[in-house]
Amino acid sequence: MPEHRLKPLTPLGHAAPETVTIGPLTITEVVTTALASLASRRGRAADVAAVAAAQGIPLPGPGRVAAGPTYTAFWLGPDQWMVEAPFASHEDIAAILRPAFADAASITEQTDAWARFDLAAADLPALFERLCGFDLRASPTDAATRTVIEHLGCYLVRRTDTALTIYGPRSSAQSLHHTLTTAARSVY
């Protein structure tokens, strides 16, 4: 993709992403992910599945995330997924995916609609029981769901037992970050 002269800002409004450590917890602002929504057109589920398989795009079931070599995807809703890819190689992710799926799927760029915070700690459930009603303790390690955190609709995407991603509305990145750090200081 051609070079341009514009310098990006992170969701928190800085030139470089922010990392904070509170006790055992690290909260990292992540800007290296490209996002696109992938929705199957009516009656084209099979085609979408086939293309996705060929492209190495996993299509997990409801409430789940699945990682592939390049693409990771989590379920958004019936016949709809969010596809993650490295920003460096896939900045224009929608343009990359569209040719492959042609008219079988609706693909929409979502990269900058979301602020991504990765959280890592040995006991994440201890933090999340102060944040939302999602039962992290009992959820599988490939859980991915949307829920409410302090009035904000966010996606929770589990990566491992001790690592998790929160996607929140980009415009509210500061409010969300404030909520996360406040809760962390309260818990740890």
Binding site: L6, K7, P8, L9, G13, R42, A113
Partner: protein, 983 residues
């Protein structure tokens, strides 16, 4: 004379002496004390004044049912009025003050009310204070208000923080007494996820207050050991200092954990309390029972306590409330109190037992078939008067009197879903009935199983049953050995003797006489009784009094107690600090903020921001030397109209609509047609509600054959998206349409004004000449050497204008590029005020006109509603009331005298017509000052407006007493032909 009433034993840590103060006087107590136990240990019985008569009062209980011992805890911004001394865990430096008295607790001027009590009978205020009418607010009510109320709230913001949290479990156990502990052991060992919560800081419930053993060890030790065992289980969560305040639908319980109320100061960053939302698949109510008093004359003096509480103070807190002590009981549990006190060497002057016969209690004067008929002692009990079986009366010295009228199961939470309790004759009490919260059962005393053995057994059994329900297999608990004393009670509710007052609800000063008056005046249903006498309306919610009132009413009506009514309870179980119910959503954090991509840049410029929904938007951007907002806004408008202006319009909702039926779908959700829109074109769309009113408006662009992007107003982005999903999933499920919001994905800027094209040409990589990119064109382009972007040639300002969108992360860079590119044109960045001015000058409707009460016809957009297709709202928009002539129409308005300024919200009245509703012709919706026209202009809804152009009217603002003569004009003040748009 420090702690002169302290006796041996108990579960206080004598190694830790804590200093505290009450009404400024210094005292000491020990770790494990409550404020009440520490004060009683120091010989302080008088702790408060009653609500109505300001009677001297001491603690009635040793728990959360306490009606009397209410104090103001702490001071300054942390002052907590109405705090129960009986559940306030003592800490070093605790500061408490008595309340609802003046000048002092011992000498309270308002105690005069007590002398005047005959005039203050139940409901007296409904019968007087009516004349003259004006005196109510001016005289009577202020007096009443000043006298009423209990503690005083600080006027300063609460400095502490509160958390909210969410916990999930298979089994929630409410109460950690014998039943709760047995249930927890059973479920914990089975590997179930268990939460056991208790309001006390020491788990164990009554086991901490009794002298009998379990498995030959003291009951309290067994409880401590069991709690320790449970703490070792990773699947069991112990929540001490946690009150389950309510049962809500589908197994959701609210709990309040008092994290740091037992500390002098809440540690920084930590919460004072946490509101837990508990998701429990099953729950067992093991909340124990509350003892109830017997009503007799002057039964409210400091020193008169519930017998079981007196016992708890002696056994758990090593306090002899008064020596000698007497006991008044109608059941065997009262005798247990006497036995324990005697065993501890506390002199028991007499046991007055309402029951005749039966074995006599050794070591005291056990007077059977007798009643206490009066008491003495102004600020504290000194003696009681009794009447024996033969009717002889005599006085007996007593510094303390333990009263037991039997026990009521704490079924409160089981009635939170309005389930009716059932009457149990053997216990003379209500027990949990049907209709309780789904998945909730009761065990132990809460279920009427009063003996320790029965509590342990029912607790274990209910746990087994709950686990079986959930398909979790569990082993039968081998029950520890414990007392199994049967309940022996002969109901005796009140003493019918004397002319004096016998208290039922001690905090609200409701007496037996009040109940009799309510009956006499036909306030006989329980609800009428409560509301008329205020029985059970105090901070204790009638935990000790309701049953008594009901029993007295039953006797008066000659019905049984269950026929008369039941006592059901509402949440919360005990009063809850407002702060914890709000959690972190306070002050500036009340709701999240949404920031625009250019926020950082705008802040650097010193922009003034305004809340628009959750968004913060630049309202105007003052330049050096500008002292009034109008100067900035006028400049922003004029420069934009004469050269170029830039505005962040990211907040408008953006919805990506794709699919082979996308066009058809839009035809159905918009009043006008979109399937015919050419690719690469934009169209203004009008969206109706099904009732025919305008829901929202905005432009929708066709980016491809099967791809549209819709814009909504900032305010309606979410409701419109919801509505589209509804149409897609519920109304036309087989249309091939996919939706997703892209509002935040794109930073979108409007570039408007004669130089807009020249400005943009410096940035975009494509030809955007009028020929190549005409009015209402749109395209996916690149800017600044290759950054993907979207360009729309649309205009809200009425100028030659574009909206350019780039990925949000580049929004900050983009505004800086636009500003730089604009320098040669002296371009401005304008805020929402200038935006508003220009759209009014152009006659575009916005929020104030899109008020949900207006149809397309009212806005002059009636022709946009196509009748050829079935779109949402089309049919009902044609109803007679909405299409009749003479209805409201959107008009432009200008003052006849240009110097006059208009006020939005002013109403239209004909010249010379009186200012009455009959002549109300409509109102001004939006008012701005037009720097281009040099005067104030407005949009408004005017009856039959389109037919009245040129007419002169007056607009009145009666709130300010102002009036302006105006002329009605077209709403299009500037460039009505739209030549500038197409330039």
């Amino acid at each position: 004379m420090s702690q002169m009433n302290r006796i041996a034993g108990g579960q206080i840590d004598r190694g830790q002496t804590l200093r505290f103060s009450f009404d400024g006087q210094a005292f000491t107590g020990h770790a494990g004390d409550t404020l009440a136990s520490a004060l009683l240990a120091n010989g302080v019985r008088l702790m408060g004044r009653s609500f109505k008569y300001h009677r001297p009062r001491g603690p009635l209980s040793a728990g959360s049912e306490e009606p009397n011992a209410l104090v103001e805890l702490r001071s300054g911004a942390r002052r907590e009025p109405n705090t129960r001394a009986t559940v306030t865990e003592l800490f070093a430096g605790l500061e408490a003050t008595s309340q609802n008295r003046w000048p002092s607790l011992k000498f309270d001027a308002l105690a005069i009310n007590d002398r005047l009590s005959p005039f203050f009978a139940a409901g007296f205020y409904y019968k007087t204070f009516m004349w003259p009418a004006a005196f109510w607010e001016k005289l009577y009510e202020p007096l009443i208000r000043r006298a009423a109320g209990l503690g005083t709230l600080s006027r300063e913001p609460d400095p502490d923080a509160y958390d909210k949290g969410f916990l999930h479990c298979d089994l929630l156990i409410i109460g950690a007494g014998p039943a709760g502990l047995a249930a927890a052991l059973t479920a914990g060992r089975a590997g179930a996820r268990v939460i056991i919560a208790d309001e006390d800081f020491r788990m164990g419930g009554r086991l901490n207050a009794e002298t009998f053993g379990i498995n030959d060890a003291p009951a309290a030790d067994w409880a401590a050991q069991t709690v320790a065992d449970l703490a070792q289980m990773p699947n069991v969560r112990l929540l001490p200092r946690t009150t389950i305040i309510g049962a809500f639908d589908h197994g959701i319980y609210a709990a309040v954990e008092r994290v740091s109320d037992h500390l002098a100061i809440t540690p920084a960053g930590k919460p004072r309390q946490i509101l837990w939302r508990l998701y429990a698949r099953r729950a067992i109510l093991c909340a124990g029972a509350t003892e109830r008093p017997i009503a007799f004359e002057n039964n409210d003096r400091p020193g008169i306590l519930l017998a079981g509480s007196l016992r708890a103070y002696a056994n758990r807190w090593a306090v002899a409330v008064g020596t000698p002590t007497a006991i008044f009981t109608n059941n065997d549990d009262g005798l247990r109190t006497a036995r324990d006190l005697i065993a501890k060497g506390v002199a028991v002057s007499a046991v007055i037992d309402t029951r005749a016969g039966g074995p006599k209690l050794p070591g005291t004067d056990h007077i059977q078939g007798a009643e206490v008929i009066d008491t003495a002692g102004r600020l504290g009990l000194t003696q009681i008067t009794i009447r024996d079986a033969q009717g002889r009366t005599r006085t007996i010295p007593a510094q303390a009197l333990g009263v037991s009228g039997g026990w009521n199961p704490n079924l409160n939470i089981s009635s939170h879903h309005r389930g009716r309790p059932v009457w149990n004759d053997a216990l003379a009490a209500f027990t949990p009935g049907p209709g309780g919260p789904q998945g909730l059962t009761a065990a132990g005393a809460a279920a009427g199983a009063f003996s320790t053995h029965a509590a342990l057994a029912t607790g274990a059994a209910e746990a087994l049953a709950a686990l079986a329900d959930l398909g979790i297999s569990a082993a039968q608990l081998d029950l520890p050995k414990a007392e199994d004393t049967p309940t022996a009670i002969t109901p005796h509710w009140y003493v019918a003797a004397g002319k004096g007052r016998a208290w039922i609800d001690q905090q609200n000063d409701v007496t037996v006489k009040d109940v009799k008056l309510a009956h006499q005046e036909n306030f006989r249903s329980v609800e009428h009784l409560k509301r008329y006498t205020t029985l059970g309306m105090a901070t204790d919610q009638g935990k000790t009094g309701n049953m008594l009132g009901l029993a007295v009413m039953a006797e008066l009506t000659g019905k049984t107690i269950p026929e008369t009514g039941t006592t059901i309870y509402r949440p919360p179980y005990t009063p809850v600090a407002m702060g914890v119910l709000a959690g972190r959503s306070q002050g500036a954090d009340f709701r999240p903020r949404r920031l625009t991509p250019s926020h950082r840049w705008a802040a650097e410029q010193g922009a003034v921001f305004v809340e628009v929904g959750m968004w913060l938007r630049a309202q105007w951007l003052p330049r050096a030397g500008e002292t009034h907002w109008r100067q900035s806004v006028d400049r922003e408008v004029l420069v934009t109209r004469n050269s170029a202006g830039i505005c962040d319009v990211t907040t408008l909702g953006k919805i990506d609509i794709q699919g082979t039926d996308a066009g058809l779908f839009l035809d159905r959700v918009y009043a006008n047609t979109f399937s015919t829109l050419a690719v690469g074109k934009v169209r203004y769309g009008l969206m109706l509600r099904e009732d025919g009113m305008v829901m929202d408006d905005g432009t929708t662009a066709r980016l491809g054959p099967n791809e549209y992007v819709m814009t909504t107003t900032t305010a309606n982005a979410v409701p419109v998206f919801r509505h589209l999903e509804y149409c897609r999933q519920c109304l036309w499920p087989d249309l091939d349409v996919q939706l997703i919001s892209t509002t935040e994905a794109w930073a979108q800027f409007s570039v408007a004004g004669p130089n807009a094209r020249k400005l943009l040409e410096k940035l975009v990589d494509q030809d955007i000449s009028d020929a190549a990119f005409p009015y209402m064109a749109c395209a996916e382009i690149t800017v600044c050497g290759g950054l993907r972007a979207r360009l729309f040639r649309i205009s809200f300002s009425g100028e030659l204008a574009y909206e350019i969108a780039v990925p949000t992360r580049y929004g900050d860079a983009m505004i800086r590029e636009l500003v730089a590119a604009g320098q040669e044109f002296d371009a401005v960045v304008y805020g929402t005020e200038a935006l508003g001015v220009m759209r009014v000058e152009k006659g575009h409707v916005a929020g104030n006109e899109l008020n949900g009460q207006s149809a397309a016809l009212n806005m002059g957009l009636g022709k946009m509603v196509s009748r050829k297709k079935d779109a949402i709202g089309m049919v009902l928009s044609q109803r007679e009331g909405m299409t009749r002539d003479g209805g409201l129409r959107l008009v432009g308005v200008k003052p006849v005298d240009p110097a006059k300024s208009l006020t939005a919200g002013s109403h239209f009245l004909a010249l010379g017509a009186p200012s009455t509703a009959a002549h109300d012709d409509g109102w001004l919706t939006s008012v701005v000052f037009s720097p281009n026209l040099g005067h104030s202009i407005a949009l408004g809804y005017l009856k039959n407006g389109t037919a009245r152009l040129g007419e002169r009217l007056r607009t009145v603002n009666l709130l300010a007493g102002t009036e302006v003569e105006v002329e009605i004009t077209s709403p299009h003040f500037i460039d009505p032909e739209g030549a500038r748009l197409r330039a």
